[in-house]
Amino acid sequence: MVPLLEARHVTKVFGGGLLDKKRVTVALFEFTLGVEVEPPSITAVVGESGSGKTTLARTLLGLAAPTQGEVRYRGTDLKRLSREQRSRFLRDVQVIFQDPYEVYNPFYKVDHVLETPIRKFNLASSRSAARALIEEALHGVGLRADETLGRYPHQLSGGQRQRVMVARAVLTRPRLIIADEPVSMVDSSLRATILESLSELKRSFGISLIYITHDLTTAYQIADHIVVLYRGSAVEAGDVERVVKNPQHPYTQLLVGSIPLPNPDHAWQRDVVLADSSDAPVVDLTGCRFADRCPYVMEVCTTARPPLFQTDPRRVAACYRLDHAPTLRSEDLGEVLVTATPTQANTLTAE
């Protein structure tokens, strides 16, 4: 089955123009991921800043063109979509950005962001139908129309603004929403609420979500699957329970270990030792990209890039310490991100 949205060997490089030969940044390297939306699921893409997660979001959305590789919507390259296909794409795939202020045009009231898609996609036949649609969407994210509509963006709080954006994304009943750090600029008290509503969207409307974040805890909270990104490549991926409870890649272990636990017997960050990464050569694409920070680095790590080793039907990690396990082609990454339905819970074969 053709995935709804698929990144195929996407590499994105910045810089490297005629004058800038030395300042090349490889944001994404040979990244492949197929996003299935049947059944709906939430996939978290977790990484630190500089891991390439925003670049990934933008290439998946078609806002940035990959330097190499391609992104496909229902099998067609995004750059080659026909008018009609593009229209379908915009209905099927929606976005929530990180900054809840920049996404609003300061000239208009917030109603503008809700009315525009209704108008452009003909989602309502009359003004009253449009109004009803908007109210329903706002209600779905926990906002009251009379308190929200008719106001300018600066008159609402960050949390309210972001929720309006969620409402906007839902209007076209998309199959997939790509959310790039949707709650990192929102007060922590509201984060859980907004994330819950995103989770609810999956349950009520069957909308899948790609949730991009640096925060492992929130990822664990709502996601079914997780992809851990480090410097432009996936280092570990799979079912969120397994990856977080038992991380196998050293980087994931570092991430998990850095979550402070209220356990007096377990000193925070005592167990993981790291080498300093600040002077890493910029363009070093041979070998594992974590090699310079890895406490378990071996000879082989610097010579060739580790493939994805599948230690379980529903997880992979790119680390030579797991080379006893069979490897998985990067194109098949999607196979480990299959939502377990109750009947499949104990199946060991990857489908």
Binding site: L61, L63, S87, L90, Q94, V95, F97, D99, E102, V103, Y104, N105, P106, F107, Y108, V113, T116, P117, K120, F121, M165, R168
Partner: protein, 282 residues
């Protein structure tokens, strides 16, 4: 209405400038109704008369009564400015938006063309054109000729403004809400640029009038219409400066100074409004 009053109070320069302009327009209106411009023609009075009770602003060497001449001249000069500034800004907006929004080769061509033509002293080229077609020069044609060299600066500044806006997140959100490029330009970008466009317009009008005056100082204006600049030209031509006939060239100068001052004030006020960072200055 209350919003307008508050706006004027917080932007005093615009208020003063607008008041000056309105004053002049009022003068023109009242003048047209009461005195009329029919006597702005030669031989409507004895020549070279200083101001008196009968001829409020005296007469010139051809016997024109100068008060009607002044009244007739105000709208003509303003028309040159409005037409030249308006057309120049229109072209500048079109080109500036295209260059800033679409980028790429469109941007390169527009930007290079503007950058090459910009350093050319406009008066020089205008003199050549105007002297060639001097018999064809009506107020409108003169304004269009001026406009042809007035678009470069607006193009550059508008392009810069568009560039700063086009990568903002709300443009991307708009794209994902189904907006086309045309939608983005007119619905999302342009409303945010309105104060800036207004300030540019006023500036362009002022520059248009200035260019018109420059041409007219050399005699390259409409030969049969008493624009303010041409009145001054005829005064110099007939030696009114040597004969001390201040009533001939004085009033047009005063009106011109008032026009420039008011336009300058309004443009500065709008500029400050469009760019709130400037509001902090003394």
């Amino acid at each position: 209405m209350k919003k307008l009053a508050r706006f004027l109070r917080t932007n005093p320069s615009i208020a003063i400038g607008a008041a000056l302009l309105c004053g002049m327009l009022l003068f023109w209106l009242v003048g047209t109704i009461t005195i009329g411009t029919s006597r702005a023609v030669p031989l409507s009075g004895p020549p070279d008369q200083p101001p008196s009770a009968r001829y409020l602003l005296g007469t010139d060497s051809a016997g024109r009564q100068l008060l009607p001449v002044l009244i007739a001249g105000i709208p003509l000069t303003l028309e040159i400015g409005l037409l030249a500034g308006g057309v120049g800004l229109l072209i500048g907006t079109l080109l500036g938006f295209s260059a800033g929004y679409f980028g790429g080769s469109v941007d390169s061509i527009i930007r290079t063309t503007a950058d090459v033509i910009l350093p050319i002293p406009a008066l020089a080229v205008l003199v050549v054109i105007a002297s060639t077609i001097h018999t064809l020069l009506s107020v409108e044609i003169m304004a269009l000729v001026i406009a042809s060299l007035a678009w470069m600066y607006p193009t550059r500044t508008i392009r810069a403004q568009v560039l700063s806006l086009r990568n903002r997140a709300f443009v991307e959100v708009g794209r994902f809400s189904g907006e086309t490029h045309v939608d983005i330009i007119f619905r999302e970008l342009m409303p945010n640029l309105l104060p800036y466009l207004a300030a540019s317009f006023v500036g362009a009008v002022g520059a248009g009038i200035l260019a018109g005056i420059g041409l007219e100082a050399l005699g390259l204006g409409p030969q049969d219409k008493p624009t303010l600049g041409m009145t001054i030209f005829w005064a110099i031509y007939y030696g009114a400066t040597l004969r001390g006939m201040w009533w001939w060239w004085g009033p047009p100068i005063v009106v011109l100074i008032l026009v420039f001052m008011s336009l300058f004030l309004i443009a500065q006020g709008l500029d400050r409004y469009a760019n709130p960072r400037l509001r902090r200055t003394a």
